[in-house]
């Protein structure tokens, strides 16, 4: 998708109709709507003031009347509507709306549906998914906790959670101050300030065992910021250990499912990966489950822990069978 050669021309073409629709709009408000500084917006207005219709006399130029901090268009020189959506703009918006339609219970899909119909009509996009070049399936399911979590966010209330932490294979109770419900990669995550951990944490909704809306307000500390997830939910931390593993074909999914630092193809379906892990017990659980499809090259302590745990498991299974 080609971006515009410059941001300024689209803004200049949109500015006059924008101002026409909002007589006396504050300049800082307009600047915020266009995502530019007040200074830049004033420069744009000065430029437009020099533009107009052939003849370019006083009655032909775009005319603006300024107050100290507001502006009104008094002559638009025939530029009273914005330009149509480009193909790229229409695609970006329509494809996204179609994706949101398919999230019942998570979003207000009725409003999405109505908005989609209006945008399709305005963009001149046929009301059919038949020939669209791009489709997005969010595949977000409504979980048992979804309704309560949405309720808490809307009413800005704290939540009591009973939560299964997969990395520690443990269930714990905690009070959290909800910040947002993130829908990412087919899963729903509550991002919240966790009073137990005293930090911002993600809670997968399908791992919430039990949730209660509390009477007290959600009050995340001022320094609690949403996590930038553009590079993935989980980012490597400096204190993590690194394992070097050789994966067989049936374990190849590991290198796509978990964030890994490096994948080296060894041929015959084998690959060697470098993978970070915070918790040895978690890593041992993963490796035990993979059986003959994985070999630990490094670190030796991890390989030893894996063997110990496997032998203990075989021993235990033997005892159960002999009962």
């Amino acid at each position: 998708m080609n971006g515009p050669v410059s941001d300024r021309l689209p803004r200049l073409l949109a500015l006059v109709p924008y101002l026409l629709a909002r007589p006396g709009v504050r300049i800082d408000e307009a600047a915020a709507d266009f995502g530019v500084t007040d200074t830049q917006l004033r420069r744009d207005l000065e430029l437009l003031w020099m533009c107009g219709l052939p003849g370019y006399g006083p009655g032909d130029l775009i005319d603006l009347s300024f107050d100290s901090d507001t502006v009104t268009v008094t002559f638009d020189a025939g530029m009273n509507r914005p330009l149509r959506l480009s193909a790229a703009e229409a695609t970006a918006l329509v494809v996204a709306l179609r994706a949101l339609v398919d999230t019942p219970g998570v979003l207000d899909t009725d409003a999405v549906q109505r908005a989609l119909a209006k945008i399709e009509a305005a963009a001149g996009v046929a009301d059919s998914t038949e020939q669209t070049p791009m489709v997005v399936g969010l595949a977000t399911r409504e979980e048992a906790a979804t309704a309560t979590v949405r309720d808490a966010l809307n009413r800005r209330r704290a939540l009591r959670l009973r939560y299964y932490t997969a990395s520690r294979d443990a269930i714990s109770d905690r009070t959290v101050d909800p910040m947002r419900l993130l829908l990412l990669e087919g899963r729903s995550y509550l991002e919240a300030w966790c009073r137990l951990a005293e930090g911002v944490r993600f809670f997968r909704l399908d791992r919430i065992e039990n949730v209660t809306l509390l009477d007290e307000p959600a009050n995340p500390p001022a320094h609690a910021r949403p996590t930038d997830v553009s590079a993935g939910l989980f980012r490597p931390a400096p204190d993590q250990q690194v394992a070097v593993l050789v994966l067989g074909p049936d374990a190849a999914w590991v290198s796509e499912y978990y964030p890994v630092d490096e994948v080296v193809e060894l041929g015959e379906g084998l690959s060697r990966i470098r993978m970070r892990y915070a918790d040895e017990a978690w890593m041992v659980r993963l490796l035990l489950g993979l059986g003959s499809e994985v070999t630990v090259q490094e670190p030796p302590e991890l390989a030893a822990a894996l063997r110990r745990r496997a032998r203990a498991a075989l021993d235990r299974a033997g005892h159960l069978q002999s009962l």
Binding site: Q297, A310, L314
Partner: protein
């Protein structure tokens, strides 16, 4: 963009919007401020060509034509009905949905295009507030293959690329008639007709190695009617609610294997090897997944029945218990692993 150029382009748009007659390039040169200063014809035409290209890139519909049969060259104008965004009015909840949709994209190209659309909607008088919302759907960038694949779909052209089916496999050259790009659960695919296989296929974009090259003429690839791209990639996800394939009885050590316990039903208590625990029952959907999951819990989870699942788990544990004690050289590991894989 320089102020002079921006001013010239705005004036050009206003001029062409206001005329019903086609205006020739020479006429435009004499009318629109900024072109008159060009020293030579050559310089003017270069400048004018660049300006036309920029306007077309933005989606400004430049019409070309002649006013009469006596005209010797084409002229230009902009038809207002093609230029202007039609009337649109959104209720507050609809505007909120549009704002949410625009923020779906976590990739620069798509996010930029969506922001451009919002800008025009605001210019049409719609109040769309671009602020953080409680629910935030996100779709991340697709990676380097995306742009070329989308362009090929839009142009109706076939593409070739090197593809690695699984990590560890050698790459294969594939030729695809692309029907569409698809994001499913945050992962990006291209779906279409695979010429070598002569069958519909989906490809993960992240497994495409190197450049995607368009091949053959444009306009030859058409998606057959009735193809559901999401279903091609996601399969029968929407109808996945089939019941479990069976149940598994497990012994779980007291207070351990929480990941299994939270899905299990209690049957009774039992002590094994001096360790307290519970007999529990769990639904099984996929045997391979169940075996991997149970084996992962080591001595904390033991299969009671069925026997064949217990054997699958013990197979995994045996392999892990006998893994080489020292970090071996890659080649040795690889050959040992090859044997293990083949047996």
């Amino acid at each position: 963009m320089s102020t002079a150029r921006a001013e010239r382009l705005v004036n050009l748009v206003l001029c062409l919007l206001s005329t019903r007659q086609y205006l020739t390039a020479d006429k435009i040169r004499t009318i629109v401020p900024g072109y008159g200063d060009t020293p030579t014809d050559d310089a003017f035409f270069r400048m004018f060509e660049r300006d036309k290209a920029e306007l077309r890139d933005l989606g400004v519909p430049l019409e070309t034509g002649r006013n009469s049969v006596f005209d010797t060259v084409d002229g230009y104008r902009i038809a207002r009905r093609d230029y202007e965004l039609p009337d649109i009015d959104l209720e507050p909840d609809e505007a909120a949905a549009v704002a949410l949709a625009a923020r779906l994209w976590d990739s620069p190209d798509l996010a930029g295009a969506a922001r451009g659309a919002l800008l025009k909607l605001r210019a049409a008088g719609v109040d769309v507030h671009d602020e953080d919302t409680a629910v935030q759907p996100r779709v991340r960038a697709a990676g380097p293959a995306f742009g070329a694949l989308l362009a090929a779909v839009q142009a109706g052209r076939a593409v070739t690329f090197e593809y690695r089916r699984h990590p560890g496999d050698a790459t294969q050259r594939r030729t695809l008639e692309p029907w569409g790009v698809v994001s499913w659960k945050g992962r990006w695919y291209v779906a279409g007709h695979d010429r070598e296989r002569d069958a519909p296929r989906c490809f993960r974009m992240s497994r495409i190695v190197g450049d995607v090259r368009a091949t053959g003429p444009a306009g030859v690839v058409r998606r057959p009617d009735g193809v559901d791209l999401l279903a091609m990639v996601g399969g029968s996800w929407h109808h996945e609610d089939h019941g479990p394939a069976g149940t598994v009885r497990l012994w779980l050590a007291a207070g351990r294997a929480q990941g299994l316990r939270r899905r299990a039903r209690m049957l009774g208590q039992r002590t094994v090897d001096g360790v307290d625990g519970d007999l529990m029952e769990i639904d099984m959907h996929w045997p391979e997944t169940a075996a991997r999951w149970i084996a992962g819990h080591g001595p904390d989870a033991v299969v009671v029945e069925p026997d064949w699942l217990r054997e699958m788990v013990i197979g995994r544990l045996t392999a892990a218990a006998s893994s080489p004690p020292e970090a071996a050289a890659t080649s040795e590991v690889a050959s040992a692993r090859n044997e293990a894989v083949r047996t």
